[in-house]
Amino acid sequence: MLRYLLRRLVLTIPVLLGVATLVFALIHLVPGDPVQSMLGESASQEEVEQLRHALGLDRPLLVQYQSFLAGLVRGDLGRSFRFGTPVAEEIRSRLFRTIQLALAAMLVALLIAIPLGIVAAVNRGTAVDHAAMTAALVGISMPNFWLGPLLAILFAVHLGWLPVAGTGTIWHLVLPAATLGAALAAILARMTRASLLEELRELYVLAARARGASRVRAIVRHAFRNSLIPVVTIVGLQFGAVLTGTIITETIFAWPGVGRLLIQAINFRDYPLVQGCILFISFTYVMMNLLTDLTYGLLDPRIRYD
């Protein structure tokens, strides 16, 4: 296990380095002069040179790259051009909100998906199954930038039950979490159904029934528990999609997280902040995938790493 852990960690390093290199290159892909683009056409040459120096863009490319990587190791993502504060601090101050939203969305997804998947699997081939799986496919096809406003129209505008945007109470979290969690719920429902169907064919389920366990008990106590393993893996692997989804969801509901910060940074042409947000989201994604991979073995004792 330890050897596997070390190997996986070592293999992750070149990926992280590749991601960092690509993000470093971003500012150099800006057509024309990135500094002029940040300051606008009306900026004087002196202002442009000043900012170029402050961002370190007047140094040779290789020196810039080395200093970028060295900063990254220290957790220094540079300074925001718009706010004048360290990028890492801007991200840190919004991190709690993004994690809160992502976790709430995952909870919503599980609460919807697991009962839906079980009902579909137990009633396989019937109208109930078809209805549940069509609902799941509709959920996957429904973009969150449409679902969000629709939920807001229904629950905030027409019914007046929930606030339309902002933060403050637990009620502010409901609409963004439902919007973000819907697609994941659809994927998980399909996965739960497929996984449970697989387990229901196993002999131990038949044995449980032969020993007198009721159908419900055989499903819930025996088959369902084992069918959860791939479902949990998908939850982990889908964390990236949820994280990317926060960009749109936070923008719709004015939720002050890292995703909204990224869009604001793009609008302000605050390239250091854009780079920082992109790096943060992709690094988190890589590490979450690594963690999912490693916990997989803990969940399923049949998996050996040697």
Binding site: W146, P149, L150, V286
Partner: protein, 265 residues
């Protein structure tokens, strides 16, 4: 399911091709005095924030969505098939380089890299296609690489090699055809992905720019009128969801045909 998907997709293509010619309204013609007017018989989907006919704009937007989907799928599948087959067939260093690039690009979740690229290159239709193709080819390359790795050991490939066929010919005539059914499925689902991604980028203000009618841009405009004119949000979103659902139905159905083992699940 496959029939329903095909029907939706064909209807959308027909709407995109002949819809704008049939519609009595110009999608950019403004009637400010009637702005935000709800659906009526004359304007079944109502009017937008500048008094433009929403149905006419949806029909024009269908062209953009399908065009972006087609462009992204064509560019990324060609690039992915080319690099994937070369990496899988030749192996060694070439495979190492392609695989490492794939690993790095896969480390960016969803459309994050596309957002990053459009953010620096500037919002435009061309940049959206470019950004989505940069992330799109990876899926095809992985798929084709796996098939090529297997195919190079097949007897008919060995036979072609023994007969003196060059690598290019073997890849084109013998290796790629084995991957084609899976590529077609991936491309169908890829159309759905590209359409949704274009709409998402346009919704965030990073894609197609006004006044060009795009479903994502229309949804973005609707956000400011959730209270007074929800029809601005409902109809463009419904169009995106239906078209994406159509391609997903079609892709799922094709996958079941290509790999019948999956159908039982």
């Amino acid at each position: 399911m496959i029939r329903a998907g095909l029907l939706i997709v064909l209807l959308a293509i027909a709407a995109a091709l002949i819809g704008p010619a049939l519609s009595p309204y110009d999608p950019s013609a403004q009637e400010l005095s009637r702005r935000l007017e709800g659906p009526t018989l004359a304007h079944p989907f109502g009017l937008d924030e500048l008094g433009r006919d929403i149905l006419a704009r949806i029909l024009a937007g269908a062209r953009i969505s399908l065009l972006v989907g087609l462009a992204v799928v064509s560019v990324s599948s060609t690039m992915g098939m080319l690099l994937g087959s070369i990496a899988g067939y030749f192996g060694g260093r070439v495979d190492d380089v392609v695989s490492r690039v794939i690993d790095v690009l896969m480390a960016f979740p969803g459309i994050l890299l596309a957002i990053a690229l459009v953010a620096v290159l500037g919002p435009s239709l061309t940049n959206v296609v470019l950004a989505l193709s940069v992330i799109g080819w990876v899926g095809y390359a992985r798929l084709v690489r796996g098939q090529a790795l297997r195919a190079r050991e097949f007897d008919f490939v060995q036979a072609a090699r023994a007969l003196g066929a060059g690598s290019g010919r073997i890849i084109l005539r013998h290796v790629l055809p084995t991957a084609m059914p899976a590529v077609v499925v991936q491309a169908t689902l890829g159309m759905a992905g590209a359409i949704i991604a274009e709409a998402a980028l346009s919704f965030l203000g990073l894609g197609v720019q006004p006044p060009t009618p795009s479903w994502g841009t229309m949804l973005d405009a609707g956000r400011s009128h959730l209270f007074d004119a929800p029809h601005l949000t409902i109809f463009p979103g419904l169009s995106i969801a239906l078209l994406v659902l159509g391609f997903n139905f079609l892709g799922d159905g094709l996958r079941d045909r290509v790999d019948p083992k999956l159908a039982s699940h």
